[in-house]
Symmetry: none
Subunit: 415 residues, 2 copies
């Protein structure tokens, strides 16, 4: 079964709103194993909407039309669907009565225009909307399923989850089961990951494998369609283990795991405590580490050492080292890490110093140059990076790379 | 001129990502007075993309195609456009050279697959991408304008603003004039802002006024269509001044202004320096303050005082104060602010201490309780908040509120 979403609303085409309901529906359809082939947005324009419905009828078996079911003259979905399908509209007294009662309960007079919302496609199942005045509608016609849903996200989601999904499952339309798993990697570019997984990306016989980039991380998403959930998960697992084998040392977790939560697990396991010293990231790594509930068990604190005076006074970085090597250097990063460990009373210290830009770069140390040092019970290490991107990009990559290096350090140390 | 956006990416149809770039482009096209009539999303499927392009060619004069320009085999936009338009692809050595240099600068080996990104439609203008390896392309053909842009938002936005818009304006394709201005407020809820502006929201005679919520800020967007840009801006200005008058003390800026940049302006104006002491936000405020380029002129650094031992040792918060009032209290926030100022050698200090949750709350100090203190040349202040929301929400509101209080403190102090 192939599905298409038609989103109706001039506000979407003017950029006044992001189309979050399309994403919600896309996610739900994927879980039902229904192939969403197109999503189309049109304005509150009867001719364009009618044309979009006709195109969809030619290529999809399920058409979900969202928005344009309000009471105002620019709510044109009912009439346009009626025209495109050549199905008349009828006044539904049950719906009208419910709208009247809603206004009574809110002790507000009902504008007459609201009765337009009681117009229903002949033969359609009416989906009662507990959150608003516009009901949903569901019409089966000539092998096609046409579903009308109100645009406001909470109304749409309530109707979809409470009415539409149970109906689809009751009809047995969700034949197959789709399951998916995301493996999260850091430290390799997307093209490198794609190269290592080339044959898996090309082979969709047991599951489809795609790479996605999200905030500097490369995610590998495995999706399998199978007659049962257990079978889908078994197929995914086989490929997932192969991906983890090939990308060993880069896959830090699956699903909801984040770099901070992966690090949290290892810090807790080893009974370690952490202190940070941040220059160019200025607190970003501390904020990331503490995004995990309960992080006070292992995170003690840190120094945001933006000015060189602070590096000296709060972290004991020697003046001579700063003037000889510069604040953005291997020795200073290590001294910062040691200072953080000592100052916070933590057994592991991290030091980050770099040039986020746009200014401050030089030929030998261009914008994007960042040193990340770790010191602790498993020895000291320092990493020299040259990140691409703008100021925020360099800072984000710096903080995430520090988490990634720490994750590897702990894995190696903990064996 | 009628435009259509075609978004390419299976991840959008699986609900793995929200289509934020479509909104960005919609907003920009509206500002140019170009009528966006359709937005269509298709997966990484050459047949469906080719068909979508053919449909668009039949109804739009400008077609913007986003995504699918990466180096992997499922990046099929180049080939599909070539086929739909019947225009061959050629290897562009200039683009290839730039890709090679990018990898050299990052000291990473270039996978061969990246050279696919040097394929360009014959006759197309190449739009250099300073943020990534995929260039944009712009092709004029038979009265149609076809624009290819990479999918990652920062790359797409940079190319659109830096290359495409100037080109469109240079060609005189933007017929009508729409202008809009966003006034940014903090500290009031959306319903309160809507109440204060009720008559303006209802009156669209000279410009339309809408409220938008973005990351805890309430924005007021004013949009005007007029025969000339000057006239549109004049109409907006009249309403903008009225909004600023009614919401005085809450509107911190317009357009690209952010809370950190508004604070930066005032710190610079007063010749002040800043140090922070963060407990529950753990570096988030430092990271926000330093998101502004050149922030080293006024930001010296800070202490992430997550553990009580760090509050004592690094900020001189007295043991007796911690045990008597608790770490989340008015006196401790003030002592942290003073410690930050002293320790960093800054004339202004900020202290933030609170309970971000989900654990750690009590009946007298529930989750969301946060104290924010400021000390400096204009006196000392402490604010007691109870934020709603989850852990990340409480932390974000805490850091932003600290910036907002600092902005008000500086405005008052500077007169």
């Amino acid at each position: 079964m192939r599905a298409e979403i038609i989103s109706v609303g001039t506000e979407l085409l003017l950029g006044d709103a992001t189309n979050t309901t399309a994403r919600f529906l896309a996610e739900r359809l994927a879980l039902l194993g229904i192939d969403l082939s197109h999503q189309v947005t049109v304005g509150d324009d009867p001719a364009r909407l009618t044309e979009a419905i006709r195109i969809a009828l030619g290529r999809a078996q399920m058409i979900v039309i969202t928005g344009g079911l309000g009471p105002t003259p620019d709510d044109i979905t009912r009439e346009s669907v009626s025209q495109a399908l050549d199905v008349p509209l009828r006044h539904d007294e049950g719906v009208a009565e419910e709208i009247r009662r809603r206004f009574e309960r809110a002790r507000r007079p009902m504008p007459r225009s609201n009765l337009r919302q009681a117009l229903v496609l002949a033969g359609a199942k009416v989906l009662r909307n507990p959150m608003g005045t516009a009901p949903g509608q569901l019409l089966e016609r000539e092998g096609r399923l046409v579903i009308l849903l109100p645009g406001p996200p909470t109304e749409l989601e309530t109707l979809w989850l409470g009415e539409v999904e149970p109906w689809i499952e009751g009809k047995g339309l969700a034949e197959e089961t789709i399951r998916s798993t995301v493996l999260k990697t850091f430290g390799l570019g997307e093209s490198k990951v794609a190269e290592v997984l080339e044959d898996l990306l090309a082979d969709s016989s047991s599951c489809t494998t795609v790479t996605l980039v999200q905030e500097g991380e490369v995610h590998v998403k495995l999706t399998s369609k199978a007659p049962s959930a257990a079978e889908a998960l078994r197929r995914i697992e086989t490929v997932a283990e192969e991906v983890e084998r090939r990308l060993a040392g880069y896959v830090f977790g699956r699903g909801d795991e984040t770099l901070p939560s992966a690090v949290a697990r290892l810090l807790t396991k080893g009974g370690h405590t952490l202190g940070v010293a941040e220059s160019c990231t200025a607190g970003l790594m501390g904020a990331m580490v503490t995004s995990v509930p309960g992080s006070s068990r292992y995170f003690l604190g840190g120094v945001i050492a933006y000015a060189n005076d602070v590096k000296r006074a709060s972290l004991d970085v020697p003046e001579e080292m700063l003037s000889r090597h510069g604040a953005v250097s291997n020795p200073v990063a290590l001294a910062m890490a040691r200072g953080a460990s000592r100052q916070m009373g933590a057994d592991i210290g991290i030091g980050i110093t770099g040039i986020a830009g746009p200014g401050g770069g030089s030929p030998s140390k261009p914008v994007g140059t960042v040193f990340i040092a770790i010191t602790g019970p498993y020895g000291s290490e320092c990493f020299h990076h040259r990140f691409m991107g703008d100021r925020e990009g360099v800072r984000l990559q710096s903080a995430k790379s520090a988490l990634f290096h720490l994750w590897r350090y702990l894995r190696k140390g903990l064996g």
